[in-house]
Symmetry: C2
Subunit: 405 residues, 2 copies
């Protein structure tokens, strides 16, 4: 059997571990060729295909691949049109699959990528193609349904928890009252913001407040809490999701620029940033020193601090997708299924990719504190196992070594 | 002999390794008591003193200390007045030293801290006090004179080099033209911005341009270079020091808010950020997609990615300061002295702290490319050895364990 695999959507620290899982499982099950689409479906349409069988010719390269963040094959954000018979894009794609003698197509990605798999499998079935289409979940946002969690989330959560600990230490260094607002990714779901709570331990209080997109932001309630906190302790730490919205459903980061501000170039200023908005609000209303920190893109590319649990599960999801294709399955995704919390055990199962595509999983309200400004023990029980373990980078000349296409 | 030690100024990843070096060297040389000032001189004046002999009662705690970023004892930014006989602050301090039966005072910090040691030793000599005052260098900025480099720089440089590699990978994921501007700490010296160049290797091109405070910013030249670059390659990466100034000596980050912008609260908007300014300039003048990333405070608190070389040297500088005090030296700093580049060898030497205080070391112009927009091989030969090696954090529950006072 010949396999073709692609990576799509935003990078993660472990998206290449899934690629490693796909490659090694395919090879060990006798696959002759494993091809990679460069820059996903978009690159494939331009004929950008790499022969992974030739590229991954040593075990060292596979180990490097597992330690390399951000798509090895390159990514894209490409939405397929509806799968209508005779559509030009689909005809081109299936011609390409035929030309490369592909028996199974695997796609590693988030909602949009599962939408791609759903559409390709639907089209394939409609035209009677024997090609199997299987998805491998991937997103730091952890917002896919039908899977306990998504590969990529655990590593981003580990990075966020570690960095929050370090930021909290940094904020505590001075004997000065201050409020620090750390902005965390997640436009629609608060999984990553919630992960800031994992910084808590015997040696760290963790953030004092966590704001999630799941709970409408109430400025009065918020300011009252911050005011009380900053009277109780020197250094107040707030973790805020970039997706926090007010009661009218407006993102706080969009409100930030409402002063009609112009930048130095005479353009509408991008005073973007939920954290900047909140720091400004605190400074303005409470008059106390505040600062904003954006964890920014580092959350999704910090391969040097990946979770070993996440790396293993990403690898296994890739392998399970290959097994599914070998068994003749199509239109499905290799999901993660939690078997137990203590000890943490997680396996894989196949789910209908049509149910995954375009749906979104948010943090359950019962895992959020009643005042809406923190997560509770149930969240921790869910998330803590996912950040366990490390895979030491291979340092060369003082920096982690990666593998490049 | 009894020792008292304090930490001052901005945190680093290895400031506690110097504390470990002070403590262990003092103890092994027979010191009865090692006391710690909490929050430096400022805390001492309030009577905040910790008994380290009691607190560091196991080797495990010392190992945790070496792995804990940001001052264990707490820090301050406190500038002593001129050392005039009879000054109240000095009288209080020397009374406190007498009360705690202190024979030597060690202070771990940057310029201001060396100024403190210089003044205390001058005052001590003037009043005929036998107390010895010795400084231990510390700053991520690497801007202290009379020392080859400063403990703290190597770890910040290793963090910056690693993160730049990961950001570059992240930027390359999509098949899209984009310019990324990463903002790096260093208000007056470009050592940290230059460290971005250490991301370069077989698997990474490193940043395309590096802007340093040492070279006045020329917008025309800069835009011409960026324009050429973005026509040659998909993803252009610029590392910019927060301290970049224009020909008139104005910080770019101050220019950012010149549109007279008001924020959502009706206050003058803080459009701060050299990277935001540059990203705006590129977008405005070249019309190409650009984004700004601030590496922010993480540069000085990322203990999870410290350089082992840096940790060892920080420890040794602490130890050398203790030895100096034991030999009766005062008014000096334990500097790092490079003995050779290949193999890299570095020892310590004592230098006059008065020469260190309030001076600043910038990147030599001959280590900067003629066009002023990158560093050269001489910079790398200097900086590369300083980021070598790692000291694995002790992970507990998925995050690095620290030690707290």
């Amino acid at each position: 059997m010949n396999f073709m695999v692609g990576q799509s959507g935003g990078p993660t620290a472990v998206i290449n571990s899934s690629l490693a899982g796909v490659f090694e499982t395919a090879r060990s099950s006798g696959a002759v060729r494993v091809l990679g689409m460069q820059h996903g479906i978009e690159g494939l349409l331009k004929g950008q295909v790499a022969d992974l069988t030739r590229l991954f010719d040593s075990d060292l390269k596979i180990e490097l691949l597992k330690r390399t963040p951000s798509s090895y094959l390159g990514s894209c954000r490409y939405k397929l049109p509806a799968p209508v018979a005779g559509d030009e894009v689909y005809e081109t794609l299936f011609e390409l699959f035929a030309r490369y003698q592909v028996d199974a197509v695997l796609y590693i990605g988030g909602n949009d990528s599962m939408d791609t798999i759903a559409k390709l499998s639907a089209y394939g079935e409609a035209i009677g193609s024997p090609i199997r289409f299987v998805g491998v979940p991937k997103t730091i946002d952890n917002d896919l349904v039908c899977t306990d969690h998504t590969p990529g989330f655990g590593s981003a959560a580990k990075y966020i928890a570690t960095i929050m600990k370090e930021v909290i230490r940094d904020s505590n260094a001075y004997d000065l009252r201050s409020v620090t607002v750390a902005e965390i990714m997640g436009r629609h779901a608060g999984w990553l913001a919630g992960a800031a709570s994992l910084s808590k331990g015997d040696d760290c209080d963790g953030p004092d407040l966590i704001l999630l997109p799941e709970v409408p932001f109430d400025p009065k309630l918020f300011l009252r809490r911050v005011d009380r906190l900053q009277k109780q302790k020197e250094s107040v730490i707030i973790a805020a999701s970039e997706g926090v919205k007010d009661r009218q459903g407006r993102f706080l980061c969009d409100l930030a620029g409402e002063g009609g501000a112009l930048d130095a170039f005479g353009h509408k200023a991008m005073l973007s940033g939920t954290s900047r908005y909140l720091a400004g609000l605190i400074q303005s209303e409470l008059g106390c020193k505040s600062r904003a920190i954006e964890l920014s893109t580092l959350q999704r590319c910090a391969g040097h601090l990946a979770s070993r649990t996440d790396i293993s599960e990403a690898y296994r999801a890739g392998g399970a997708a290959v097994m599914a294709a070998l068994e003749g399955r199509t239109g499905c995704m290799a999901a993660l299924k939690r078997l137990s919390d203590q000890p943490y055990l997680c396996g894989t199962e196949l789910v209908d990719v049509h149910q995954v595509a375009n749906a979104e999983k948010t943090v359950p309200l019962e895992w959020i504190e009643p005042d809406g400004m923190h997560v509770n023990a149930a969240f921790e029980a869910y998330a803590r196992p996912l950040i366990q373990g490390e895979l030491t980078p291979m340092f060369v000349n003082g920096v982690p070594r990666h593998i490049t296409l």
